[in-house]
């Protein structure tokens, strides 16, 4: 898939990348970008770039989005040099601060301009971090979406919802957030770099997120031994990022990647897929990939990406489901469908929005029979405004 760069932006992103690469052999090229000299000096990655020295004076931005932005804008040339030769960019950032929120969209745009495919991994601040940071994150995410091919979002709040992490000390919570991002990055890397039995590539991901303005949710499950497939599915359902499977149950489009040891059987794949199909709506678009990695031994890992419709509203979170069973667990798909009756009004609106975005069958056939127009890795037959994730006013009104 060409040269891959893993880039941490802002202190949060830098820390996440630091953690990620420790003990990761044969990983992608790693780089970090920040305004704060101190943060960069402790990083162990291949390349560190300080931006906005003239704006921030070598210190952080103090959480000021404007300062972060001008730091990035001042040093676009250097960012372009950093991006040179990269075909795929994994951008890791924590939104809400100054540098992460300000520089990330600029970096993504620069990378895009250089012809790289940009996959952004962004965490959104916890509720308790206050409205200012959430607003900064919201603005930044909107821009980031414009310049990234795929944005994988991890709202930190979702971590708190998982029963295990509820009583974690604060530091451990942040570490958990980093670790989750790490898993996301690694499985994305595996998904793209490991030649699979059933191959998945960037185009599959792009196709999946096409309907969702480029935003994805992510789930991960693993199993070991005899019943590894069942275990992995169960584990996946507990994944906090998929809101205990509820995201799956309403996903219109999802991508499943299965990585197993040398002894991965078709039966295992079948089992995993059966488990997932039970939960997802019958009409959803489902893509499967499978790969063997001898290092996995007798384990099996399942990674799920689901396209999610993020609504750019003040609450920043995707609109919450109205009600949730007390256990927070999904038991039966039937139970979930039952829930849908009591969906909140907001959710109803969201559903309408999704319908609005789904393409008409007649228009899809416009270019049927003709060669697809591919330029710089983009399918030009897909409307520009959809590829760039530009919201139309008509859609916003219909919310």
């Amino acid at each position: 898939m060409g040269e891959v760069g893993l880039i941490g932006v802002g202190s949060g992103g830098v820390n996440a990348v630091n953690r990620m690469i420790s003990g990761w052999q044969d990983g992608p090229r790693s780089m970090v970008v920040d305004t704060d000299e101190q943060v960069l000096s402790v990083s162990t990655v291949e390349r560190a770039l300080q931006v906005g020295a003239s704006v921030a004076g070598g210190h952080g931005t103090g959480g000021d989005l404007q300062v972060g932005r001008s730091a990035g804008e001042n040093d676009t040339d250097q960012l372009a040099v950093l991006m040179r030769g990269l075909d795929v960019v994994f951008l890791v950032t924590t939104l809400g601060g100054g540098t992460g929120s300000g520089v990330s969209p600029i970096l993504a745009a620069t990378a895009h301009k250089n012809g790289a495919v940009v996959i952004s991994f962004a965490t959104l601040p916890f509720q308790f971090e206050g409205p200012e940071r959430r607003e900064a994150a919201r603005l930044s995410l909107r821009e980031l979406r414009l310049h990234s091919d795929v944005v994988l979002v991890l709202p930190n709040d979702r971590l708190l919802e998982s029963p295990v992490e509820k009583w974690m000390p604060m530091e451990a919570t942040f570490a958990a957030s980093d670790a989750t991002i790490g898993v996301m990055v690694r499985s994305m890397w595996k998904l793209l770099s490991r030649p699979g039995l059933l191959n998945l590539n960037i185009a599959d991901i792009r196709r999946m997120v096409e309907k969702s303005s480029g935003t994805c949710s992510f789930g991960y499950g693993a199993g070991h031994g005899e019943s590894k497939a069942t275990q992995a599915v169960r584990d996946l359902m507990q994944s906090p990022l998929l809101e205990q499977g509820i995201q799956l149950a309403k996903s219109s489009s999802l991508l499943v990647n299965i990585i197993g040891g040398a002894a991965l059987t078709l039966q295992d794949i079948q089992k995993v897929m059966d488990g997932i199909r039970e939960i997802v709506p019958a009409d959803s678009h489902l893509v499967v990939g499978a790969a063997c990695d001898p290092a996995m031994g007798d384990s099996l890992a399942v990674t799920v990406l689901t396209a999610e419709q993020w609504i750019d509203d003040d609450s920043l979170e995707p609109i919450r489901r109205g009600q949730r069973t007390d256990t927070g667990q999904t038991e039966l798909p039937a139970g979930l469908r039952g829930q849908s009756k009591s969906r909140s009004k907001e959710e109803e609106k969201r559903r309408i929005l999704q319908q609005k975005l789904s393409p008409e069958s007649t228009t899809q056939e416009r270019f049927k029979g003709a060669q697809p127009s591919l330029y710089r890795g983009q399918d030009m037959d897909i409307p520009t405004f959809i590829r760039r994730g530009v919201k139309l006013s008509g859609e916003i009104k219909s919310q």
Binding site: K356, P359, E360, T362, T363, R366, F367, K368, G369, A370, Q371, S373, Y375, R376, M380, D381, P383, T384, F385, I386, R388, V390, L392, S393, G394
Partner: protein, 403 residues
């Protein structure tokens, strides 16, 4: 010198057009026949449904037969899209004459070497254009005949496209049945119709914004420096509008024509326009700003792609005379403003010049390619009557392999 009327045929993605013209003494083209039919079975300038395409070509030719004084038996065919791109090449040969005088032979050998470009099996050469000659590597001349030197070099631009697609278009026309007298790249034809000698000298980019494809030609120092085609066109704009505003393709096409704009006008932010409809349904209105945004993003991206192709070949800074737009897309409001913003150069809409007869045609940028083909047909016919040697000197198409 009496050249019979020339019939130019363009099998476009949205329209099939036929123009019959005669050359007048004063260099004007007199239009004597004209036919136009909506296309079917063509996508992105490629034939995807043979029978449908054939019936549309027949219909257009029939109309031209009825309108004009002559019956058409052979046509000059305009080719667009089909992944047209180009390769630059230089060929060098020693001058054989003992006295070092360059003769016909030397030039022919030189062109032969310069023409030899290694292309894939699926490619077909459309034009071989001689850009300039060099004597002894650095002395640039346009016509080296009779000059002295020890080595003669020629720079050529080989324009080529996808073999299958080009052949299929020709095949449709031959099945009419109709003799295909000559073929030429649409971008080149448009250039012949609308560009002035000054523009060609200073450097100019011609963009033909067609229905299925966008064809481009760059002139610098009187020679064609680049030719290419993007498989993105007006159809994409229409499709984007249809998808974004939830209307049918026909409605999108009408919205684009009546209310379309290449730049979003924010003063009209709250304005809404009704969706044209044959059936009386409940009023379907769409925000004008959305229509403009969708069109703007697509057009800007298309032009940006052209610009990037130029920058890759380091031609971006040679556009002294700016950009000239032709094709149906050139009728879009504000397109000139957008193009001059993207290319940071002046921009004008190209209208075919020195045309009489049907004046309305010369006012329409979408007829540039077809009218240019008529002109091209006359220029090659004229050259055919000249000496062989002269024919090879002129900056134009020298040989076309059987297609």
């Amino acid at each position: 010198m009496n050249i019979p009327p020339i019939a130019a045929l363009e099998v476009g993605t949205s329209k099939v057009r036929v123009v019959v013209g005669e050359a007048r003494e004063d260099g004007q083209i007199m239009i004597t026949g004209f036919g136009e039919a909506p296309s079917r079975g063509i996508r992105k300038s490629d034939v995807i449904d043979f029978d449908n395409a054939l019936s549309c070509v027949r219909r257009a030719l029939q109309l031209a037969d009825q309108n004009g004084p002559v019956k058409i038996h052979e046509v000059h065919l305009v080719l667009s899209g089909s992944g047209i791109s180009c390769e630059k090449n230089r060929g060098t040969v020693p001058v054989e004459d003992d006295a070092g005088e360059i003769g016909n032979d030397d030039m022919e050998r030189c062109m032969e070497t310069a023409r030899a470009v290694n292309l894939g099996h699926d490619r077909q050469v459309v034009h071989t254009i001689c850009q300039r000659f060099y004597i002894d590597e650095h002395h640039v001349v346009t016509n080296p005949m009779g000059m002295e030197g020890s080595r003669l070099s020629a720079d050529t631009l080989v324009v080529h496209g996808m073999r299958a697609q080009l052949r299929n278009t020709v095949k449709v026309v031959r099945s009419v049945p109709m003799v295909v007298e000559d073929v030429a790249f649409g971008g080149l034809c448009s250039a012949l119709a609308v560009l002035t000698p000054e523009e060609k000298e200073k450097g100019v980019l011609l963009i033909d914004l067609g229905g299925g494809t966008t064809d481009c030609v760059v002139y610098a120092h009187h020679a064609i420096a680049w030719a290419g085609s993007l498989a993105v066109g007006g159809d994409h704009v229409t499709n984007d509008v249809a998808r974004g505003l939830q209307v049918t393709i026909q409605q999108a096409e009408q919205l684009k024509e009546t209310n379309g704009r290449a730049m979003a006008d924010f003063s009209l932010r709250s304005k809404k326009v009704p969706v044209p409809s044959n059936v009386r349904t409940t009023d379907h209105i769409v925000p004008l700003i959305d229509l403009h945004t969708i069109i703007h993003l697509r057009m800007e991206e298309t032009l940006q792609l052209v610009k990037e192709s130029l920058l890759e070949r380091e031609l971006g800074y040679q556009l002294g005379a700016g950009v000239v737009l032709v094709g149906g897309g050139a009728k879009l409001k504000d397109i000139c403003g957008l193009a001059s913003k993207v290319f940071n150069a002046p921009c004008r809409i190209g209208k075919p010049s020195n045309v009489s007869g049907l004046v309305s045609l010369s006012e329409s940028p979408e007829f540039a390619a077809t009218l240019g083909m008529v002109r091209y047909g006359f220029s090659t016919a004229k050259k055919e009557t000249m000496s062989q040697g002269w024919r090879q000197i002129v900056n134009t198409i020298l040989r076309r392999r059987e297609s």
